[in-house]
């Protein structure tokens, strides 16, 4: 208490309230990059004002800054180490099926009942326009969209079994353009494989069971879509 530092607290408080107003007003302009700045850039400025002037860190001995700084660095290390695996759902030799399914459903794993079949990323982006509106109406089921969002991770965008997740798999994912694939399979087997997993029909267990994502009818539509890949 010996050293007394008194910045003009009132001025700093007023600045903080003005910055708060800016962060609330930001999204109303409608530019995504601007919202990021008014939300997180302004938050950094506000936090800095509070830490420097209200917590008096500006006048504190340097060792206190080191104590806090090391904790911040730890947080940064944690983020850098873990985030790459969480932010992406496919890598060179792995696929996060649960996360892909969650995005495709438009709602994460835990809620099975009444989960709207939404279009994932595009749907989410579109719904930001209607902030207070209730959950958007479920769009029609599109086997092609589902294939490209979910199945393509391993089976490839054209169904050739060459998706990003295929590299780490042995046996390789099915190639739907290969006549040999179709030689020994009927539709019922494929529907079962989609809904109950590859192991249920004596194939690779790397093919997950998607029964929570697709009902019988939707799985049939997916199989119908697979037939269209044959000729390409």
């Amino acid at each position: 208490m010996s050293e007394q530092h008194h910045p003009d607290y009132k001025k700093i408080y007023v600045a903080l309230v003005i910055l708060l107003a800016i962060s609330v007003a930001g999204p109303h302009v409608g530019l995504k990059w601007l919202t990021l700045i008014t939300a997180f850039g302004v938050a950094l400025v506000k936090a800095n004002l509070v830490v420097e002037n209200f917590m008096h860190l500006k006048w504190e001995k340097v060792v206190a800054k080191w104590v806090l700084g090391v904790a911040l660095v730890l947080m940064g290390l944690f983020f850098a180490g873990v985030a790459p695996d969480v932010m992406e759902h496919t890598g060179d030799r792995w696929v996060n099926n649960a996360a892909i399914a969650a995005v495709a459903r438009g709602i994460p794993d835990e809620e099975e009942e009444g989960a709207p079949e939404s279009g994932g990323a595009e749907q989410a982006a579109a719904s930001t326009e209607t902030a207070a509106a209730p959950a958007p109406a479920a769009p029609a089921f599109s086997p092609e969209t589902q294939f490209k969002q979910v199945c393509s991770a391993c089976h490839g965008m054209e169904g050739k079994g060459d998706g990003p997740g295929a590299a780490g798999l042995d046996p390789k994912p099915a190639n739907f353009t290969d006549p040999a694939f179709w030689a020994d399979k009927d539709d019922a087997t494929l529907v079962k494989a989609i809904r109950e997993g590859g192991a249920s029909v004596g194939k690779s267990s790397a093919m997950p069971a998607w029964g929570s994502l697709y009902n019988e009818e939707q799985a049939k539509q997916l199989v119908a879509y697979l037939h269209t890949l044959k000729g390409s």
């Binding site: 996360a99 459903r105 709602i107 989410a124």
Partner: protein
Amino acid sequence: MQKPIATTRSATGIPTGRLAVWWVLASEIVIFGGLLASYVMHRIGHPEWAVAASHTNTWIGATNTFVLLTSSFTAVLAHQAAEHGDGRTAAKYLFMTIGGACTFILIKSLEWTHEIREGFVIQANGFWSFYYTAAGLHALHVIAGAIVMAFVARDAMKGRELHRVELVGIYWHFVDVIWIFLFPLLYIAK
């Protein structure tokens, strides 16, 4: 009564109590930092969370931000008064800060009640899990801070232990800073 407490540390030159508060805050950074970093990476990996996030009420979040900023302002005024040896004024400002804490918790309770009634419960999906965990952990810190401030204010009123006014204030500003980041993370990024 003679208290066997060292009041300054020669190694750092920082009064013991204040140094201890910095250490507490360093551990708080790790706790909240880990939670918020996890939230950010999942949010980036799950574009569909924006659907859930669109249901949070920006105005309630903004009001609570204003309440906490104001309570930080009164906390620093309490510190200023304590530095001048004016315990009564310091206590008065601390009680105003406690009032801010109570207002914050009251608003949060009403907000959560409304959301839970709408069906947005903690297990609804990943976004709501983070929403209730992060804001809930923060709310516990608000409650703890208010309780500690009541004790500090009671002593300050009698002119005792005035240095503690600064210590509880530093903690309080930190709780404010956490909310400054929670607000855009949970309410504005939609």
